[in-house]
């Protein structure tokens, strides 16, 4: 090869090599997943997030919660999103050991689920929640609420209503984000802020929300939530093990509070 051409060729090879290395580093997961494999996402429960946040120590859980008892909404998109928000608030009431608000959230969850055609036999599973709370068996209450939430979501999937199930997850995730941001904005701790690092969940919601049925997709709050996901991702995608800056958390609180208010308003 002509000597003058060797340098650009070597440069080209280096560029290709660096590009390939970058592609490997860009992968979210370990080395064994085939590149073409699409991702099956296992969604977390809001309760899971709050148990992790509990490591912060003294948290004013009641202040973090929204506790809106309303359950009369005009369409299934609002019902599903509110059901998600209420179940997240139910977990917050458990963290706060707040029987009164847990009762309110539980009633709201059951009514919204009934409106979404979830069978009574499924909802009966959760009847123990209030009794256990009265007895102060909070860990069992947490387990029962978790089971009820899973049963409701599974029932929706079984009815072929994966759109509604997705919106329940999205509502719960959003209220979890709002409550966590509120707690962290008031008690900023760099290490604890890393629990907001959930870019893959945002990717998942963004992917699924734009593929909702037309009716749900055109719901104003669903549209706003979908549009906000890009900004939310920018604020939390700080890299694995890195703290989310306080100013990002304040902004996350602002975005999520506005969205939760829109959801609750209906």
């Amino acid at each position: 090869m002509h000597r003058a051409m060797k340098i650009p060729a070597a440069f080209l090879a280096l560029v290709l090599l660096l590009g390939a290395a970058d592609a490997v580093q860009a992968g979210v997961t370990g080395p064994t997943r085939p590149e073409s494999e699409s991702v099956r996402m296992l969604l977390p429960s809001p309760g899971e997030l709050f148990v992790s946040l509990g490591r912060l120590g003294d948290v004013d859980w009641s202040d973090a919660a929204s506790y809106n008892p309303r359950y009369d909404y005009k369409d299934n998109a609002y019902r599903a999103l509110n059901l998600g928000v209420r179940s997240a608030d139910g977990f917050l009431a458990i963290q706060a050991r707040d029987k009164k608000n847990l009762g309110k959230m539980f009633q709201s969850i059951v009514t919204l689920a009934e409106e979404l055609m979830v069978r009574d036999t499924v909802l009966d599973q959760g009847r123990e929640v209030e009794k256990l709370a009265r007895e102060g068996k909070w860990d069992k209450v947490h387990l029962e609420l978790g089971k009820l939430r899973t049963a409701i979501m599974d029932e929706m999937e079984n009815m072929g209503d994966s759109n509604v199930a997705l919106l329940v997850s999205a509502g719960g995730w959003l209220e979890g984000l709002r409550a966590t941001s509120k707690v962290l904005a008031a008690n900023y701790n760099p290490e604890m802020s890393t629990i907001l690092y959930q870019p893959q969940l945002v990717n998942y919601f963004a992917y699924r929300m734009i593929r909702l049925d037309k009716g749900s997709r055109n719901n104003p709050v669903v549209r706003n939530l979908t549009a906000s996901l890009t900004e939310i991702k920018e604020l939390i995608d700080v890299g694995y093990k890195n703290p989310v800056p306080r100013e990002n958390i304040v902004k996350l609180l602002e975005i999520s509070t506005k969205l939760v208010k829109e959801i609750e308003k209906g």
């Binding site: 979210v28 370990g30 064994t32 590149e35 099956r40 996402m41 296992l42 899971e48 629990i195």
Partner: protein
């Protein structure tokens, strides 16, 4: 025909353009690959072996204080590996257990963190990427950092010619 000097210039310009375009292309490629598949949770009503195995894991997990649920099901042939991703929150204790139905001999669960670190099923610790760990159908982990984890389920069947149903059950401990 172009002179060697002008050919050299063309190659240099091409290389520079590639250097500019490649990261964007790579990024676009990565986004294009970011697709999500539905998770199935159907359990074959005739597969009582699987149903009983799921029930047993769920009851045991509940007794140990885990909010456990059936996360995923599938049907695989011998040697097949299925993948899922989960965001795990720092400080929580999680378990992942795979159970099989009729014809499933063993299953192997492997959990890998975002840096490729492999979870040791015996200790729950994250080991350096590429470390070989003993096969196990169940493991617990308490991640130090919140992030996305890859969960791999590999099926080993009794008969090579028939597949088997499997299920992945997972949960987090309510009281940490």
């Amino acid at each position: 025909m172009a002179s060697p000097k002008s050919r050299c210039t063309i190659v240099t310009i091409t290389a520079l353009l590639l250097a500019l375009v490649w990261p964007m292309w790579n990024s676009a490629l990565h986004c294009a690959e970011m697709t999500f598949q539905d998770v199935t949770k159907d359990v074959d009503p005739k597969d009582t072996v699987l149903q009983k195995a799921i029930q047993k894991v769920m009851i045991t997990a509940n007794l140990k204080g885990f909010d456990a649920s059936l996360k995923m099901t599938g049907h695989s042939v011998n040697g097949d590996t299925e993948f899922a991703e989960a965001t795990l929150f720092a400080g929580n204790e999680y378990f992942f257990t795979a159970v099989g139905g009729d014809n499933a001999a063993t299953l192997n669960v492997l959990v890998i963190d975002q840096n490729g670190g492999v979870v040791d099923p015996e200790t729950g610790k994250i080991l350096p990427p590429g470390t070989k760990v003993p096969p196990s159908d169940s493991l617990t982990i308490r991640p130090e950092w919140t992030g996305s984890f890859l969960i791999q389920v590999t099926m080993f069947c009794k008969s090579e010619y028939e597949g088997a149903n499997w299920a992945l059950i997972s949960g987090y401990k309510v009281k940490q």
